[in-house]
């Protein structure tokens, strides 16, 4: 009851509560759609403004109640979702064996002229890898649960793994489906524990290789791991939880690594799931931040993760990252403090933390509007959504995102992709975006079907055309300068189709659409 009252109050009151600086309902709708979603679809600014932006935000937070049937229908085209981790592991193993066999044959026959071509199972496996990327793009473009997709992207990046590293080729799909997606709007602690136990992370940051010094496996293995590997421990503290200035020492890193010895992966034949290897565990006593950990097997790690999730430094580090995503690259203290406070009150309920950010004055401040430059993924998906285009189930739209500089799941560094614009805004990248915009406007963007007639009907009236482009594609954010340049360019274009292509291409490739 109290929650419902709060919701209604928020829906009606928050934008108004901001007083003199209050945005118009359409401005706030556009802002919310740019940040909590991958930009508006045709007509969506009006519908969100009509519903009330805070009510729309509450619905997005309560995403389970938002029907998403159309996306569910589209997901059925992705074969990847039919296979579980064990099946993917087996297929990858088969593909590798087949390739080795082929190479051996080549070696024996002395035929060195043939290049190392991929055998059919390997090609098929690579196709599944492409599906993984395309699925992310299709979900971002089509899901009605936009905030959830944004948060899946956020956490996938926060808890980055690299699909190009060995076993992560077959471990990443289940990482997304079983580790990230179910926890994206849950409790941070659960998400942290899920990533720590995920085979994809255990492999990516080498914890599966980390064993107590001096021990060896009960059965002889050809390449048995030896000794401690600190990688996961270090990134857990520096990136996943406390942050680089979180006040830990190298001694803490070593102690954390010792606590996680034994956290490993089953063999692929056994499903490649999480396994705790008793023999590999360091049974000695460890001290982390002055807290003692006596030998307690796998429970030591769980206890440590819960402890880390409840540290103030963790709350601050992760909240600041969320605010960098939703508010601005260098977020003001106000929204970060509000997020941290909500975290304290709710023991890390991600929805509550997000709600605190979306109701913070900093989120609605005029300087936050259009303060962020879109990432390549955000640019491509927002352009597809703005034009009402429909991505197909081939891998081509994901390849556009790759060409614009953000190959999904292929960031090798555990930092994930940076949130700040400096990474994305380079001369070559901007030219690529202009090319992509013109291609989309001309109906030549690979991997999408586009019917512009439904959004921007053909007209010979250039001013009318430009106003439509502004209203439908830029949500009214077109500057007077942009308008005059587009009109100037249209001056000698008589063909209405050509005029529309040019106007749409310039608008989507121009500076306003690069911001959100």
């Amino acid at each position: 009851m109290r929650l419902r009252f709060l919701t209604v109050w928020l829906a009606l009151a928050v934008p108004a509560a901001l007083g003199a600086q209050a945005l118009t309902p359409r401005d706030s709708a556009l802002h919310a759609l740019n940040r909590l979603a991958y930009g508006p679809r045709p007509g969506e600014v009006d519908s969100v403004a009509g519903l009330g932006v805070m009510r729309w935000i509450e619905r997005q937070l309560d995403f389970e109640r938002v029907p998403d049937d159309r996306l569910a229908g589209r997901e059925r085209a992705f074969k990847l979702l039919d296979y579980d981790r064990a099946e993917l592991a087996q297929r990858y193993g088969d593909a590798l064996r087949e390739r080795r066999e082929m190479q051996r044959e080549m070696a024996q026959s002395g035929d060195t002229t043939r290049r190392r071509g991929a055998a059919a199972p390997m090609r098929e496996f690579r196709q599944l890898g492409g599906e993984l990327q395309q699925l992310a793009v299709v979900r971002a473009a089509l899901s009605e649960r936009q905030l959830r997709e944004v948060m899946v992207d956020f956490w996938t990046n926060h808890f980055n793994v690299f699909v190009g590293k060995g076993a992560d080729r077959f471990l990443t799909p289940s990482y997304i489906e079983e580790t990230i997606r179910p926890n994206a709007l849950g409790r941070f602690e659960d998400l942290l524990i899920a990533t720590a136990k995920s085979p994809a992370m255990l492999f990516y940051l080498d914890n599966a290789q980390s064993v107590a010094p001096g021990v060896s496996p009960p059965r002889r293995q050809p390449r048995a791991p030896r000794g401690l590997n600190e990688n996961y421990a270090r990134e857990l503290l520096e990136l996943h939880t406390l942050g680089v200035d979180g006040g830990y020492t190298q001694q803490d890193v070593i102690a954390v690594a010792r606590i996680f010895t034994g956290w490993g992966i089953d063999r692929p034949q056994q499903g490649a799931g999480f396994a705790f290897h008793e023999w590999a565990h360091d049974r000695g006593e460890k001290q982390v931040f002055g807290m003692r950990f006596r030998n307690d097997g796998v429970n030591e790690g769980i206890r440590l993760l819960k402890l880390l999730a409840a540290q103030h430094a963790t709350m601050h580090h992760v909240s600041a990252k969320l605010c960098a995503r939703f508010v601005s690259d260098e977020p003001p203290d106000g929204c970060v403090d509000a997020a941290v406070e909500a975290w304290h009150h709710t023991n890390g309920d991600i929805r509550a933390v997000l709600r605190a950010i979306f109701t913070a004055p900093d989120f609605w401040a005029p300087q936050a509007l259009r303060a962020k430059v879109k990432t390549p993924l955000e640019f491509v998906v927002s352009a597809v959504r703005a034009t009402g285009a429909e991505p197909d189930s081939t891998l081509r739209l994901a390849q556009v995102v790759t060409r614009l500089g953000q190959p999904l799941y292929l960031q090798p560094a555990p930092t994930g992709y940076p949130e700040s614009q400096a990474q994305w805004v380079t001369s070559g990248a901007l030219l690529s975006r202009m090319n992509a915009a013109v291609a989309l406007a001309a109906g030549r963007m690979p991997g999408v079907r586009l019917d512009l007639d439904a959004i921007i009907p053909l007209t010979t009236h250039h001013a009318q055309l430009t106003d439509l482009v502004n209203a439908r594609l830029l949500g009214g954010s077109m500057s007077a300068h942009t308008r005059s340049v587009i009109l100037e360019q249209l001056a000698d274009v008589n063909d209405p189709r050509q005029a529309r292509t040019l106007a749409v291409g310039l608008a989507l490739g121009g500076p306003e659409f690069q911001r959100q």
Partner: protein
């Protein structure tokens, strides 16, 4: 483009906006910030980095043919002494690299042996990452050492073409906040419209859009892009013909080298160029004087020789450096290949190079001299070589910002650049 100018543009643009000045005024204001440095920078020192991805077998590239152990450990894949192109009686070139012998003789080619990372990893992924971030063992470094050099080096003005990587994405080594260009092909850079007139018109239109309505990095970066398009229009890559009859090998690598040579000769301010070539992960059927590795080395050798011939006199200010994430096992494996090892060999080529020498401390192949009993030991940290080239060739003054946590000391420099 220096960082300070990027910041200036950003702040001045925002300030004007908040004053509520009209966009046309803003357009002029943005256009009137400090003028771009001249696009012509004659005879600037250039560093070309070539990454052999997959871990090249240093022992079959720069062959220790004077060591009987080399032949004992590699009965099927060792390069027979009669095929080795001898360099100094102890080491020699793989026969595929024979086109480089002249450069050795005229002292513009050096090899650095037993070089690598202090980190013991045998993962391609981790080792490449460390070699590009310049911070072995530290995974969270977000930028690459070449980018950090560009960012901190204030001596050299940024131009649109100061740092260029050939490939679809900016490689890790050039990632960071300093502007760097990634391009597949010079001819494809810019707006893709088939007709030249239509292309120029669209380019102008976007240029006007960004001049007037963009702020911050969007303004400065787009301006760099349009400046680069102007430069390329003048340079006209489609018309380029290599000089002195240089013939580059077919394929992406040869094409990248050709375009790097073209950029150098066009004086567009190129300082750092990067390209990579794969196929070095020779676990199976590596071959000896012929075969898999020989084919890859032939492309490398022909490419470097053509580059050197094409640039001619201009090589006096150019250093080409090859690198690879680690070497391979001393002993061949059961599949006539080699597995992941530790130290490898690198090549340095160019006028400033202290050539005609195999540099570095050779640890030997004896069982006691090996790393973990199986690999060539690392006696030169790769950062000492990279650091030497930055300091002695490009004139870097502060390596502590380029290689955080490491102090390359002149006393440890392998001596690849003539003093």
């Amino acid at each position: 483009m220096t960082i300070s100018r990027r910041v200036f543009v950003k702040t001045s643009g925002l300030a004007l906006f908040s004053l509520g000045l009209d966009p046309l005024f803003l357009a002029r204001a943005v256009a009137s910030y400090p003028p771009l440095p001249s696009l012509t920078v004659p005879d600037r020192p250039v560093l070309v980095c070539l990454f052999q991805r997959g871990a090249v077998d240093g022992l079959n590239m720069i062959v220790p043919h004077g060591e009987p152990l080399y032949y004992r450990e590699r009965p099927r894949i060792a390069i027979p002494a009669k095929d080795v192109v001898d360099l100094d009686g102890h080491f020699g070139l793989h026969p595929s690299l024979a086109p480089l012998k002249d450069l050795w003789d005229n002292k513009s080619l050096a090899a650095i042996h037993a070089i690598g990372s202090p980190d013991a990893t045998r993962s391609h992924f981790d080792a490449q990452d460390y070699m590009e971030s310049g911070t072995p063992g530290v995974k969270s470094t977000s930028d690459g050492w070449l980018n950090r050099y560009c960012r901190h080096d204030q001596e050299h003005a940024d131009t649109a073409f100061r740092a260029v990587a050939f490939g679809p994405q900016l490689p890790r080594i050039l990632a960071g906040t300093s502007p760097a260009l990634a391009l597949d092909d010079l001819q494809a850079f810019g707006l893709r419209v088939p007709q030249e007139a239509a292309r120029d018109k669209l380019t102008r239109a976007f240029e006007e859009l960004y001049e007037g309505a963009a702020t911050g990095l969007l303004a400065s970066s787009s301006q760099e892009g349009f400046a680069a398009i102007d430069v390329l229009k003048r340079v006209n890559p489609a018309q380029y013909r290599p000089a002195n009859g240089a013939a580059y090998p077919q394929g992406r690598f040869g094409r990248s080298l050709l375009q790097i040579a073209q950029l150098i000769k066009s004086d567009v301010g190129l300082e750092i160029a990067f390209a990579d070539l794969g196929g070095w992960d020779t676990h199976v059927n590596q071959g000896s004087s012929d075969g898999q590795l020989a084919t890859r080395l032939r492309e490398l050798g022909l490419g470097l020789a053509a580059f050197n011939r094409d640039l001619g006199e201009r090589m006096r200010s150019v250093v080409v450096l090859t690198m690879s994430e680690f070497g391979r096992t001393i002993a061949e494996n059961g599949n006539s290949g080699t597995d992941h090892g530790h130290a490898t060999a690198m090549l340095a080529l160019g006028g400033p190079v202290n050539g005609g020498k195999v540099l570095g401390n050779w640890p030997g192949l004896g069982p006691a001299d090996r790393f973990e009993g199986r690999d060539v030991a690392v006696t030169t940290d790769f950062r000492d070589l990279f650091g030497e080239i930055l300091v002695r060739h490009l004139g870097a003054t502060d390596l502590s910002v380029v290689f955080p946590g490491f102090t390359p000391a002149p006393s440890r420099f392998p001596g690849a650049v003539r003093g």
